[in-house]
């Protein structure tokens, strides 16, 4: 009896005992480092927080090495079908894993690669777990919270210190505060309930965006059930995908093949392109069945005379009276299903279909645009694994045309991977809820492209390179005539000395753009080159320095435009103590205009990732502190400031700041209990 009491004491106090037992923020640091490997600053300013969440989710829900199959393992960045097969053949030969560290025993796998994938893996030790049955018998009613319940709360607040024009003139209805609150309650790994509310700066209500889900997993034949908000990820994302996905980036192989999660609860704050209703997946001996229903109000501009939808804005910003008029003006009902079949490690194919019905018809401006209010899609996707060759693809039919993506990944050696993929998205294929690989950030319309990539972990360093050729067979938003372009990427990284890593990168993009030459709109070639050198140095296990210099050129030779830009930054990550971490960065930039802007990702509060454009002349700096006083609590704070000495005002339109400083402070609380 004495011993039991002692045990309980120990258990309740254990969070305090173990405060300093782990390096702070391991999840955050691993997420950041993984994203560093996959993402690359594109030539567009964008918010990639959803991708951050996607990787974070993978780390928080690691894949069990003893039950995973070839297709599941490939969801982990860095694991291709051949690597997955090596791991599985080891498991078949030597029996179940006892620890993820057993991976180091596999000679076929590169040590660097193993370090990279271990955060995504686990070994469930059901048998070795602390024997808790004893307590349940004696003290079950004494416990306030069953130990199986876990609570995750993330609460984030931010405020711009400068007042933008929209607030000064009273155009924006709400105040400047940004607020994001998310609560997950998990019960014994099988049940999760979540609620999320989000308010952007200038929005009136703290719960401008609300999301809720209830998720039940692995209950008998029921693989997955979601009530509330969810997303569907099928095949290569040509038909159905979450509102975000990886695009061409620093890793030449990983983004090419999509690895769909089929069904998952919606946990992000992007306010469009998710489903609201109910969906379930049932697994039965190799077969998997999914059915879903969704009914959701959407923002739309509706013509008051014809009562037709003229556009569906997808920003999720409800700042002005004008914005509020569009809120929930239309609705969409979706139902559909999917059947897929998995054969051992060789074969995984699925057929899916859905129908979408809008409350109003679409107003079409050209014969290729959406018209009517009823849409149907049918898709077939496959993933065939014939080591060392992996073939995958998807075909979608929308009752007028067929869009397709087909790709191949060849792994002749474990450290040498080649991939090629062909995508064809016809002009009259308009998809409502896809996000596929391509040049137009997910849009599967009016594009034909071929991608070719190689990743080589050679003895003399890591080489990633890709070449992507794309064509827009019909006019686009930018160009009144068909246009084309290509993109070339080459990066090299090497650990020269112990703890010193050098990264070199060259990127070149050629694209047709429209310019006014002698008052005549002409399609001309635009060339953007970007040269980057980066040095990362671990001064000690606590202090990491990162220096970067990047030079961009922007050239339209026919229009005699030639601009360039340069960016230099110094970055520091300092683990002050095991519960306190500080990030800081100072960025100097000088570019001729927005055209030659240099882009950079920066460390932000957990769950936020933005690719910011630095242009003009000035400097930006930020400081972020993450403090973990207890194992279950993380507090973080960030202050960021952009200063452009030669400007009188920053930004434009309603976002105009009548000052040359743009600064913001944000706080976040993460609670995991």
């Amino acid at each position: 009896m004495m011993k039991i009491v002692f045990n309980i004491l120990f258990l309740t106090l254990s969070p305090f005992f173990f405060i300093n037992s782990q390096i702070i923020d391991s999840t955050e640091i691993k997420t950041e480092e993984t994203l560093d490997e996959i993402l690359d600053e594109s030539f567009v300013e964008e918010d990639n927080s959803d991708l951050y969440n996607a990787v974070e989710e993978l780390i928080l829900n690691p894949i069990d090495l003893n039950t995973a199959d070839v297709f599941e393992l490939q969801k982990i960045p860095g694991i291709e079908s051949s690597t997955a097969e090596i791991i599985l053949s080891y498991r078949n030969r030597f029996g179940p894993f006892y620890s993820v560290n057993e991976l180091y025993a596999m000679r076929e796998l590169d040590r660097d690669l193993i370090n990279r994938i271990i955060p995504f893996l686990k070994v469930d030790k059901e048998s070795i777990k602390f024997d808790s049955t004893l307590f349940q018998e004696d003290f079950s009613e004494a416990r306030i919270l069953p130990s199986d319940i876990k609570i995750y709360l993330r609460s984030r607040f931010g405020n711009d210190l400068q007042t933008r024009k929209g607030f000064e003139d009273g155009i924006y209805l709400g105040n400047k505060l940004r607020a994001y609150n998310r609560l997950f309650v998990k019960y014994s790994k099988q049940i999760q309930a979540g609620i999320l509310i989000d308010k952007d700066a200038g929005e009136r209500d703290i719960d401008d965006f609300k999301s809720f889900h209830l998720n039940v997993k692995n209950y008998g034949v029921l693989n997955n059930l979601v009530l509330g908000d969810y997303v569907l990820e099928f095949g290569q994302g040509l038909m159905l995908w979450s509102p975000y996905g990886f695009s061409k980036g620093a890793d030449a192989i990983f983004p090419v093949k999509r690895k769909g999660k089929i069904l998952k609860p919606y946990t992000s704050a992007t306010e469009y392109d998710f489903m609201r209703g109910v969906a379930a997946t049932i697994d039965y001996s190799g077969f998997s069945f999914t059915a879903f229903y969704s009914s959701k109000k959407i923002d739309a501009n509706v013509d008051s005379v014809t009562n037709k939808i003229t556009s569906t804005p997808k920003t999720g910003l409800h700042l002005t009276e004008n914005d509020l008029m569009k809120v929930n003006r239309a609705s969409e009902k979706i139902f559909g299903g999917r059947i897929s079949y998995k054969y051992d490690k060789f074969f995984n194919a699925g057929m899916s279909a859905y129908q979408s019905k809008f409350s109003n018809e679409f107003e079409s401006t050209s014969i290729y645009d959406l018209s009517g209010s009823n849409f149907r899609y049918y898709s077939f996707d496959y993933d065939v694994n014939l080591s060392p060759v992996n073939i995958f693809g998807e075909f979608v039919y929308n009752e007028t045309s067929v869009a397709s993506l087909n790709g191949i990944i060849i792994t002749p050696l474990n450290n040498f991977i080649i991939t090629a993929s062909i995508r064809s998205y016809p002009r009259n294929f308009i998809n409502l809820h896809g996000f596929a690989f391509g040049e137009q950030s997910g849009n599967t319309n009016n594009e034909f492209g071929i991608y070719y990539g190689i990743k080589w972990r050679s003895n003399f360093g890591l080489i990633n390179f890709y070449y992507d050729q794309f064509r827009f067979p019909f006019e686009t938003f930018e160009n009144p005539v068909p246009s084309s372009g290509n993109e070339f990427y080459l990066s090299y990284s090497k650990n020269f000395f112990n703890k010193t890593q050098l990264n070199l990168r060259f990127k070149s993009e050629r694209k047709d753009v429209t310019e006014n030459l002698n008052n005549i709109k002409t399609v001309v070639e635009r060339i953007r080159n970007s040269y980057r050198a980066e040095l990362m140095y671990d001064i000690s296990s606590r202090l990491r320095m990162k220096s970067r210099i990047e030079y961009n050129t922007y050239e339209i030779s026919k229009a005699e435009i030639k601009e360039n830009g340069i960016l230099i930054f110094q970055d520091l990550r300092y683990v002050i103590s095991k519960s306190l971490l500080a990030y800081g960065r100072i960025i100097f930039f000088e570019t001729d205009s927005f055209n030659s802007a240099v882009y950079e990702f920066e460390n932000d509060l957990t769950g936020v990732l933005t690719n910011l454009a630095m242009y003009g002349e000035g400097l930006r700096w930020y400081l972020m502190i993450r403090y973990k006083p207890f194992d279950f609590l993380t507090l973080s704070m960030k202050y960021a400031e952009t200063y452009k000495p030669n400007e009188k005002s920053l930004s434009s339109g309603n976002n105009l700041i009548r000052n040359n400083i743009d600064n913001r402070i944000s706080f976040q609380i993460d609670l995991a209990y």
Binding site: L413, F416, I418, A420, Y452, Q469, S484, N486
Partner: protein, 281 residues
Amino acid sequence: MKILSTIFLLTSFTLAQFNPGAKQISLSNSDVALSNDVFSLFNNPSGLSQIDWREIGIYYSPAPFGLTELANAYVAYTEPFSFGSVAIGGMTYGFDLYRESKIVLGYSYNYQNKFFAGAAFNFHTLSIKNYGDDNALYFNLGGLVYLSEDFRLGFSFQNINRASFGNDDDQIPVLLNAGISYDLINSLSINAAVEKDLRYKTSLMFGVDYDLIEYLSLRSGFSNEPSKFSAGIGINYSFISLDYAMFTHNDLGLTHQVGLIISFNKELSRRQQIRNYLGIK
């Protein structure tokens, strides 16, 4: 109208055709430092003396960019002698209004199984109906060096005497092609090359040649000027290799071509037989 546009295409693409060999094209012609089959005669003749067996190849591209008028065919034959390899080949291109043909005689010398030097003599004729004929004689030079057992350097000059048709200069491409080839493993080589044609921008070319199994080769590559992708497969069975290649030009679309190579007295795979011959373990 079609004739007009065809003539336009002919004059702009004509003499800038791609060198033959379905394998070469599936590697986007990045193979200057690989040059290990009979079609090397047309690009880098020095590679011929890597081959210690007799070989015949035919190649056909039925409709480049979808135009049968641009159809072209090549044939080549090589014979190894103690003093080096001698090869002869021919080409025909065009249709009844416009026709080009070429006869090529090549020689390649193997110095200590490490250095290879070659030369080719081209006799090229052109005839345009109702306009008349012309012909030209020009020379190609090439070299190939094994820097190590798995790393090669190659180069070739084409039309070094700057022969041309008619009164205009440089109607026949004058170009330099230099590159490297690296055997990552026995069954895979990576090729990269740059090509500068006197009249065009420098082109970067890249290709990977991979023998998935003894009987099946997979190849792919790309080049940037013009922007194109290529891919192909090769089926190697007994003394026959059947190769298929396709490439896509960003503006002009797809082109398909096939080639057949018959090798005499070749017992092992192409790479292995060459390695044995050159004394590479």
